[in-house]
């Protein structure tokens, strides 16, 4: 992973060259710092020139991200980054386009754009920083906050049933669906790289700690002492194993997942992760219980699902090419004159 790939024009790039001059203004201790750092480490490995990379964000703490990267970038308006990316990618398919968004930006105000971007399958990478809170507006509940969450706008607890983001993404026919966390840098780097490598809309949810307004929301998954108990790291072709000493596994009884002890069950009987299996990925996305509930399923991290499907920008370009073949290059005089003309002497 640490190896640096030769870049097409600029020669060898390093993480440092992707650091913009702007002072980073996130709160000290914010999970965003780690995500930025991992991104700066991965970008030199993509084999893409700096000038061909564009970061587009919406509004929210996460959406300041483009300012801190020395690529092309646009900090746009709330929820609309995927829509802006759709026009850019349709007309400049050769660019590497990244959308940086948050749980409120992507799933609340921008919910419509996210699902339509997924079904159209532009070759863009969407990183959704999920901190289950509105940070920039100083602490209201978000569409991913759990029910009963007490925040400034819900002093008696939130009434909203939250989104399960990856289930939503799978429901919208997302073609690359993955989850990572701010506090596992190596895994996060791998996921960013995989998101880039996939041709189609890659949706990477990143659990990100907001240490000011929602500190510890994901500690069950991110902190050393409990992480192994509550998380399941998915690896292609490998059995679903978890637990402090990897002593537990998941097997499928028909379509029903069952947690088993590896003392009594052989690894051969376990569910083998298959990124191309849509049904299994939807079951995995439903491993979404509160980790404090007894006997809960571990929260999966890694790539849930990958599917090859034509991208929108390829299709829109193909159609233009096809029309050029069928009709030839447009003749403006013919167009303006239309079918019927007459002459007045």
């Amino acid at each position: 992973m640490a190896e640096v790939i030769e870049n097409k024009q600029n020669g060898v790039l390093t993480a440092k060259e992707f650091v913009s001059g702007q002072e980073v203004r996130w709160c000290p201790g914010c999970g965003d710092y780690s995500i930025l750092k991992q991104m700066q480490s991965v970008l030199p490995q993509l084999g893409v020139s700096k000038e061909d990379i564009v970061f587009i964000s919406g509004i929210g703490c996460s959406s300041r991200f483009p300012y801190y990267l020395d690529t092309f970038g646009m900090h746009s308006i709330h929820g609309r980054a995927p829509a802006i990316a759709s026009g850019l990618k349709s007309t400049r398919p050769e660019l590497s386009v990244w959308v940086i968004t948050g749980d409120g930006d992507a799933l609340s105000i921008g919910g419509n754009h996210i699902i339509h971007s997924l079904r159209r399958n532009f070759d863009i990478n969407v990183l959704m920083f999920n901190n289950e809170i509105y940070g920039l507006t100083k602490g209201q509940y978000s569409p991913t906050s759990p029910v009963k969450k007490v925040t400034k706008s819900t002093p008696f607890g939130s009434l909203d049933h939250p989104f399960n983001p990856l289930a939503l993404v799978l429901g919208a026919d997302g073609t690359f669906v993955a989850r990572a966390m701010d506090r596992d840098p190596k895994h996060l780097q791998q996921m960013i790289l995989r998101a880039h490598q996939h041709k189609g809309t890659s949706f990477l949810e990143v659990y990100q700690n907001c240490n000011i307004f929602n500190d510890g929301a994901f500690f069950s998954f991110t902190e050393k002492d409990v992480k192994k108990k509550h998380t399941l790291f998915l690896e292609e072709g490998q059995p679903l194993v978890f637990g402090e000493n990897e002593e537990k596994g998941v097997k499928l009884d028909g379509f029903t997942p069952v947690i088993v002890d590896l003392d009594s069950t052989s690894k051969n009987e376990l569910w083998i992760h298959d990124e191309k299996d849509y049904i299994k990925s939807t079951i995995l996305s439903r491993f979404f219980e509160d980790p404090s509930v007894e006997g809960n399923f571990p929260r999966p991290f890694g790539v849930f699902y990958v599917k090859e499907r034509n991208t929108y920008e390829d299709e829109i370009c193909n159609q233009v090419e096809q029309m050029l073949t069928v009709k030839g290059k447009g003749d403006l005089d013919k167009l303006i004159a239309g079918n019927e003309t007459w002459v007045i002497e």
């Binding site: 308006i77 349709s90 007459w342």
Partner: protein
Amino acid sequence: MKVTEEKDNVVIKFAGDSGDGMQLVGSQFTNNTALFGNDLGTFPDFPAEIRAPQGTLPGVSGFQIHFGNAEIYTPGDTYDVLVAMNSAALKANLDNLRKGGIIIANTSGFDSKNLRLAGYEESPLEDGQLQDYELYRIDVTKITREALKENGLGMRDKDRSKNMFVLGFIYWLFDRDPQNTLNFLERKFSKLPDVLDANVKALKAGYNFGNITEAFSVKYRVKPAKMPAGTYRSINGNPAMAMGIISAGVKSGLQVFYGTYPITPASDILHELARHKNYNIKTYQAEDEIAAVCAAIGASYGGNIGVTGTSGPGLALKSEAMGLAVMLELPLVVLDIQRAGPSTGLPTKTEQADLLQAFYGRNGECPMPIIAASTPSSCFEVAFEAVRIALEHMTPVLVLSDGYIANGAEPWKFPKADELAEIKVNIQTKPNDDKFMPYQRDERLVRNWAVPGHSGLEHRIGGLEKEDVTGNVSYDPENHEKMVKIREQKVENIANYIPDQEIEIGPEKGDVLVLGWGSTFGGIKSAVKELNDAGYKVSHAHLRYIKPFPKNLGELMGNFKKVLVPEINNGQLIRIIRDKYLVPAVAFNKIKGVPITKKEITDEVKKLIEE
């Protein structure tokens, strides 16, 4: 013995149920009239529902055409001929038929059910109430069925050809060759031989019906108009808008990206553009209005010309994104084909009530140039001009049209591609100095355009306030005020690059200046012409550039004792005019979803002069 009577100009109204095919009849007669060489103006008028309740007044769909042997500026105030396919069509339109006018009534549309639905107790065809008109009763349904006896289609499908019977009869009545419609039918139904046969037979049956029926002894003839020499075509506003966009794309050498969401009456622009992908154009039907404008901004950011089109409700949804484009200082064209509002309003009726929304309807100090089309063919020039301003001045531009212009048609002496000006595009490919400054400006205050893909120009832009020159985020109070002023001045500077306001018709000094914008053009011009002929010192000026105004506008208005501003709204341009020039302009407003007529304007001007 048939007699042919000469007429200078004629107004026909075709009216029927919204499923009767009156729009097709109207557009075919329009093309035929144009090819024949008359000048013309049209006004299609249809319900918002695709098939409104049959036989009822709200279900009436109409098409009005005014044609003549001299210049025609409007679809006409009153009709000379009313074609009524049913009772409701008669009832809805009779008020506008001039006394002595011709009524052609389809008698099978006056059965007891149709009469009841239209609210007639007795048949107006029988009870003598139409004695002031020349009434022709034709059982169109029956004769069409008779003519199609041999045709293999079912009865319902046969009945759908009755609009062609009517068209054929009207062709006979106005001494026209129906060949262009026969060609059209051949093209349209080449794969449906039975349907083609039915339509052709019905058309011919209608034509022959006039010829052989003794009741019809008079035909009419309107000689071709004496129009400036050149090659002409018939054009509607929306297709003209689409062609203007395409032409500007070709002349700028840039790819056009049209992001939009279907909305009446703007959708036809999408339909037209989607057919012409071989002109370096991509069309994108987005998930909503906001996505449509944002996608266009994304395309512009990538170095293309992003265009979005909508109507009033959609313009409201796009406001925030237009503000982003103002802040980013990227080229963008926003087409607003206005309709009657507020909210959903009257979707198929015309209004000019989005001007203040266009002017002020965004958060913060958010100036955008505004230009307005006035006739169907002017949509071409306005769209082209909007792209030019957007690209040359690095700004989003708003174009205002409306349903009346969008769906109306007129003959157009169209330009040759060579005659269209090249549009200068200045995309920067290398940094000037060591470090690229995205908000460095030239003498017009226009910033550099650096698009992804050029090494050394990597930079970040966004909706947060920019520091002058560097484009970095800045919360500095002095800088904010400076940037607000710069953005305003940049738009005002466009006045140096547009033509002076001219007087359309009338003297340079006089009693009243009628100042209009948009689709009131024809009504005002014909009214002022009539007033001039009658000796009144009245002139007409019509604004294309509304922000910024042409530099000489204040001076031009100063040459008249009074300024009258007729608008199809509750008074919008007039507020801006009064605010900017402190002139005591007088408003004339009509907000009924229909155009202002010549007579309404002449009356108003006379009243003003007599005051």
